[in-house]
C-alpha cells in the first residue's frame, strides 16, 4: 500500500492527522498561496507542515520575525487577490493586534484567514486568553472547530467564506484541537494559483481619518450579512429533542465533551443541543429556536463567557423567559472535560453521575505524596544553564559594591531559559511577554540601585528585543542586556529565525548578528562570549555590568539538543564527563547544588555522571572545587 501524505490529492481517503496538520491540510485544499507565521505552542506545526510541502505545491511559506509582520505578509497577499493566512498562538495575536484592527476595515480580497491557537489550561503559555473578544472588537467572524476533522473542513471553507463576504476570518483553534489526533477524511486539493496584483486605491487602503470614517460602516454592513448567513452554515447545528426541558449550547471542542457527557448520562434523547461553530457572530435564529423550546439552558464553553453573554443578550432582546446558565456551573479557568460537563449537567438534571469522580480524585490525592515532581528542566548540556550561572556570579560580585544586602535583578523573557527560575539556578526574576525583559530592565533602571541584568533568547531578540534595546540607549538606562544565542527557537520546536542563516523553506539567507545590531543601535559596550568558557564569560559579564551605560553581551552556543542531533547525523561521538571518585568530596555536592544538570545523579551514595545523558559540556568540570570531574 502506498502511504498517503499530507499533500496527496486523494479525496475520500483517510489519514491519521494531528489537529495542526489537519488545519494545514484544509489550507492546502483551499489553495492557499501565502502562509506566514511566528512559532508558538500550540500553533507551530501548522506552518511546519505547510513548509514541508511548500515547494511541491507552489505555496510561499515563511517564518516571519514576529506575528505582526506575519499578519501583514498575509494581509498584503489578500489585498493582491491571493489566498493567504497567518498563524500564531493566542498571545501572538496581541502582537498582531495593531494591523488587525485596520485589516477588518480593509476586508479581504483574496481569502484571508488568521489562525489563533488559544491555550485553555495555559499548558505552554504565560496566560489563558480568549481571542474571540479580539475578533468581536474588530468585526471579525470566528470559525471554531469541535474536532480535528471539522478543523480540516472549516479551514478548507474559510478562504471561500472570506472571499464571499469580503471579510477577514479568524479560525480559532485550541490546544485540544491543535494537538488532538484523529482519522481525517480528505477533500480535493485546489490547484488554482492566482497571479496577484496590486491595485492603487487610497480610499480603500490609506487610512486617514476620513477613510476610517468611510470604511467603518462598510465593515459593519459586511458583518451584518455574515450574521444572517451563519444561521445556515453547517458548523452550527441545532438538535431539538421532543419534550426536552434542558438545552445545551456548546462551542468548539466543548461540543465533543457535551456529546460524550450526555451519552454517558443516558440523556442523549432528553436534552436539546445547539452546536456552535461560529461564536462570532452567533447564529441568532438557531439560538432563539433553542431558547423557546426549553425551560433551562446551559452554555458550555472554555475560558470566558463569550457565547453565554451573547445568548443572554439574544434572550433579553427577544423577551424569552428562560433561565440561562454558564459560568455559574462551568469553570472559566482551565480546559473543560467530559467530567466537568457531567458535573454541571448533573446539577441541572438530577441525573446520577456514572462514576464517583470525587472518589477518583481521592485516589489521585492519596498517591500524590509518593510521586516525583518533574518540573520542566533545562536539558543536559544546555548553554542557558551556563549563561544563567555566569550572569549570577558576575552580578553578585558587582552587587557587593552597591552595598550590603543589595541583590541584582534578573528580568527574564519567554524561552527555554525560563526554566532557570527553578532551583538551584533561581536566575529569573520576571517573565511577562516576549521582549519584556529588556523593557522591564529599562523601567527598573530609573528606580532601583542594583545591578540589572536582563536576558532573552536570540529568536526573542529579533521578535521584540530591538526597540527596548534602542530605548535603553536613547533614554540612558544603565542596564546589561544578555542575548542568549543558541541559534534556534528552541522552546517551540527549533524553528529557524533571522540569526540562523536559513528560512522556513530551507533557503540560505543572510545571517543577522545581535552584536552587529546592538552596535548599530549605539550600544558602546558589546561583547560576544562562549558560556562554556566559564571564567572568561563571568569576567566579560562583570565588565558589562560595571560599564556606565547600556551594555550588551551575546552569549553564543548552539542549543544542546540541536547539536546532539547534528553530531548524530555526522556520526560524531559525544564524549561524556565522569567523576573521579578518589577526588570527589561527597559532602560538597557543588555540582548538584548549583547547576541542576539532569546528567549528574546520586547512585549508591556517590555522585556520578550518567554517561548516556551527559553531553560533555564541561560546565560542571569548571566549577568543581576538587577538580574531580574529567572528560576522557
Amino acid at each position: 500500500m502506498k502511504e498517503l501524505a499530507i499533500s496527496s490529492d486523494a479525496p475520500g481517503e483517510k489519514l491519521f492527522l494531528l489537529g495542526n496538520e489537519a488545519i494545514a491540510r484544509g489550507a492546502i485544499e483551499a489553495g492557499v498561496q501565502v502562509a506566514a507565521a511566528y512559532p508558538g505552542t500550540p500553533s507551530s506545526e501548522i506552518m511546519e507542515t505547510l513548509a514541508s510541502v511548500a515547494k511541491d505545491l507552489d505555496i510561499y511559506v515563511e517564518w516571519s520575525t514576529n506575528e505582526k509582520v506575519a499578519f501583514e505578509i498575509a494581509l498584503a497577499a489578500s489585498i493582491c487577490g491571493v489566498r493567504a493566512m497567518a498563524a500564531m498562538k493566542h498571545v501572538g495575536v496581541n502582537v498582531a493586534h495593531d494591523p488587525l484592527m485596520i485589516a477588518s476595515y480593509i476586508g479581504a480580497k483574496g481569502g484571508l484567514v488568521l489562525v489563533s491557537a488559544d491555550d485553555p489550561g495555559a499548558w505552554s503559555s504565560q496566560n489563558e486568553q480568549d481571542n474571540r473578544y479580539i475578533a468581536e472588537q474588530s468585526y471579525m467572524p470566528v470559525l471554531e472547530p469541535s474536532s480535528v476533522q471539522e478543523a480540516k473542513d472549516m479551514m478548507a471553507d474559510a478562504f471561500e467564506l472570506s472571499e464571499k463576504f469580503k471579510q477577514i476570518f479568524m479560525f480559532r483553534t485550541v490546544t485540544r484541537v491543535s494537538h488532538g489526533r484523529s482519522d481525517v477524511v480528505l477533500g480535493e486539493i485546489s490547484r488554482e494559483r492566482r497571479k496577484g496584483s496590486f491595485r492603487k486605491d487610497p480610499s480603500w487602503l490609506v487610512y486617514t481619518p476620513a477613510e476610517a470614517r468611510k470604511n467603518k460602516p462598510l465593515m459593519i454592513k459586511r458583518f451584518a450579512r455574515i450574521k444572517e448567513a451563519v444561521n445556515t452554515l453547517p458548523y452550527n447545528q441545532l438538535s431539538v429533542k421532543d419534550g426536552a426541558k434542558l438545552g445545551i449550547i456548546s462551542c468548539g471542542i466543548s461540543y465533543s465533551y457535551t456529546l460524550e457527557a450526555i451519552k454517558w448520562l443516558e440523556l442523549d434523547d432528553k436534552v436539546s443541543v445547539l452546536k456552535i461553530g461560529t461564536p462570532n457572530p452567533l447564529p441568532e435564529e438557531l439560538v432563539k429556536k433553542l431558547l423557546t423550546s426549553v425551560k433551562e439552558v446551559l452554555v458550555i464553553e472554555e475560558l470566558e463567557p463569550f457565547v453565554e453573554t451573547h445568548v443572554k443578550a439574544v434572550a433579553g432582546e427577544a423577551n424569552i423567559p428562560v433561565k440561562i446558565h454558564g459560568k455559574d456551573l462551568i469553570p472559566a479557568v482551565g480546559e473543560l472535560s467530559t467530567r466537568k460537563v457531567i458535573e454541571a449537567v448533573v446539577r441541572l438534571t438530577k441525573a446520577k453521575p456514572p462514576v464517583d469522580f470525587k472518589d477518583l480524585d481521592k485516589i489521585s490525592e492519596d498517591i500524590a505524596p509518593l510521586l516525583p515532581w518533574r518540573p520542566p528542566i533545562l536539558c543536559p548540556g544546555c548553554p542557558h544553564r551556563a549563561s544563567h550561572y555566569a550572569i549570577k556570579v558576575a552580578a553578585r560580585r558587582v552587587a557587593r559594591d552597591y552595598g550590603k544586602g543589595v541583590e541584582p535583578v534578573y528580568p527574564g523573557d519567554i524561552g527555554c531559559y525560563d526554566m532557570g527560575v527553578n532551583p538551584p539556578l533561581e536566575a529569573v526574576d520576571t517573565t511577562i511577554c516576549m521582549g519584556g525583559s529588556f523593557g522591564i530592565a529599562n523601567g527598573l533602571a530609573h528606580i532601583i540601585k542594583a545591578p540589572i541584568v536582563a536576558h532573552m533568547g536570540d529568536s526573542t531578540f529579533f521578535h521584540a528585543g530591538i526597540p527596548p534595546l534602542i530605548n535603553a540607549v536613547y533614554n540612558k538606562a544603565n542596564i546589561t542586556m544578555v542575548v542568549l544565542d543558541n541559534s534556534t527557537t528552541a522552546m517551540t520546536g527549533f524553528q529557524p529565525h533571522p540569526g540562523t542563516g536559513y528560512t522556513a523553506m530551507g533557503q540560505e539567507t543572510v545571517q543577522l548578528r545581535a552584536e552587529d545590531i546592538a552596535r548599530a543601535c549605539g550600544v558602546k559596550f558589546v561583547e560576544v562570549i562562549d558560556p562554556f568558557e566559564l571564567s572568561k564569560a563571568i569576567k566579560t559579564i562583570e565588565a558589562a555590568i560595571r560599564f556606565d551605560g547600556p551594555s550588551v553581551v551575546v552569549s553564543r552556543r548552539p542549543c544542546a539538543t540541536e547539536e546532539l542531533r547534528e553530531k548524530k547525523k555526522k556520526g560524531e561521538k559525544v564524549i561524556p564527563c565522569y567523576i573521579d571518585q578518589d577526588k570527589c568530596n561527597l559532602k560538597c555536592a557543588v555540582c548538584v547544588r548549583l547547576l541542576g544538570c539532569p546528567a549528574i545523579v546520586r547512585k549508591e551514595g556517590k555522585t556520578v555522571i550518567d554517561s548516556f545523558t551527559c553531553t560533555g559540556c564541561r560546565l560542571c568540570a569548571q566549577i568543581c572545587p576538587h577538580r574531580a570531574i574529567k572528560q576522557e
Partner: protein, 199 residues
C-alpha cells in the same frame, strides 16, 4: 463494531510515547476504526511527564479519556504508571515497564519516588490485570535499548481486547522505520508481545 476502547500511554519526555500513539493510531485508521486522541506534553521540554491518549470506537467523541474510563494503561516508567491510576477501573489492563527515571527534585529531597512494591500493590488493588515488564532489557535483546517503546507496543498488542490487528500495527512499524531499523523494531515488538503473553 467497536464502541469504545481507551488506551493511555504514559512516560517521561524522550521515551517515545508520542511515536507509540502515532503508530497505534495509524494502524487503527487502517483497520477502519474511528480514532480520537490527544497528548499532554506540558512545555515541550525533555524530562517532564508525558501522557498520550488514543481512543478507538464509534462512541468516542472527545480527545481526552474521562477518569475511570481507561481500558489499557501502558506505562513506560514506574512512577508515571502510578500517576495515572485515576483513569483505571477493575476491568482495565496495566502494562508496566519497571524502569525508573528519577528526577533531580528527588535527589535534592524536594519530592519522593515510590518503590516497585508500592506501585504494584496499588495498581493491583485497582485493576485486575497488571503486567510487569523490563522493557529496557527486552529492547537490548532485540538489538537496541532505543526500542523499549516498541517493546511496550508489542506487549499492548498481546492484550486480547485491543481492537487493532497485530498485523496492522506491525505494518505501521514497517512503514515508519527503514531498513535494518525496521527489523530491530519488529523484533522488539515480537519480544514484547511474547513477554506479555507469558506474564
Amino acid at each position: 463494531m467497536v464502541k469504545e476502547f481507551n488506551v493511555l500511554i504514559a512516560g517521561v519526555g524522550g521515551q517515545g510515547v508520542i511515536l507509540m500513539s502515532e503508530l497505534l493510531g495509524k494502524a487503527a485508521v487502517r483497520d477502519g476504526l474511528r480514532v480520537r486522541g490527544s497528548e499532554v506534553l506540558g512545555m515541550a521540554i525533555r524530562g517532564g511527564s508525558v501522557v498520550s491518549m488514543i481512543r478507538l470506537g464509534d462512541e468516542v467523541y472527545g480527545p481526552l479519556i474521562p477518569l475511570g474510563k481507561g481500558d489499557a494503561l501502558v506505562a513506560m516508567e514506574l512512577a508515571e504508571g502510578l500517576r495515572n491510576i485515576a483513569y483505571l477501573s477493575k476491568s482495565s489492563v496495566v502494562i508496566l515497564n519497571t524502569q525508573r527515571i528519577v528526577p533531580a527534585t528527588v535527589l535534592i529531597g524536594k519530592s519522593n519516588y515510590p518503590s516497585l512494591e508500592e506501585v504494584v500493590e496499588i495498581l493491583n488493588a485497582i485493576s485486575n490485570r497488571v503486567v510487569r515488564l523490563d522493557a529496557a532489557r527486552i529492547a537490548e535483546e532485540a538489538g537496541s535499548f532505543m526500542t523499549a517503546n516498541i517493546v511496550m507496543l508489542g506487549a499492548l498488542s498481546a492484550i486480547s481486547q485491543l481492537p487493532v490487528k497485530v498485523k496492522t500495527i506491525k505494518e505501521s512499524i514497517q512503514d515508519h522505520f527503514s531498513g535494518k531499523l525496521a527489523q530491530v523494531n519488529l523484533k522488539a515488538f515480537d519480544l514484547g508481545y511474547q513477554a506479555c503473553q507469558q506474564a
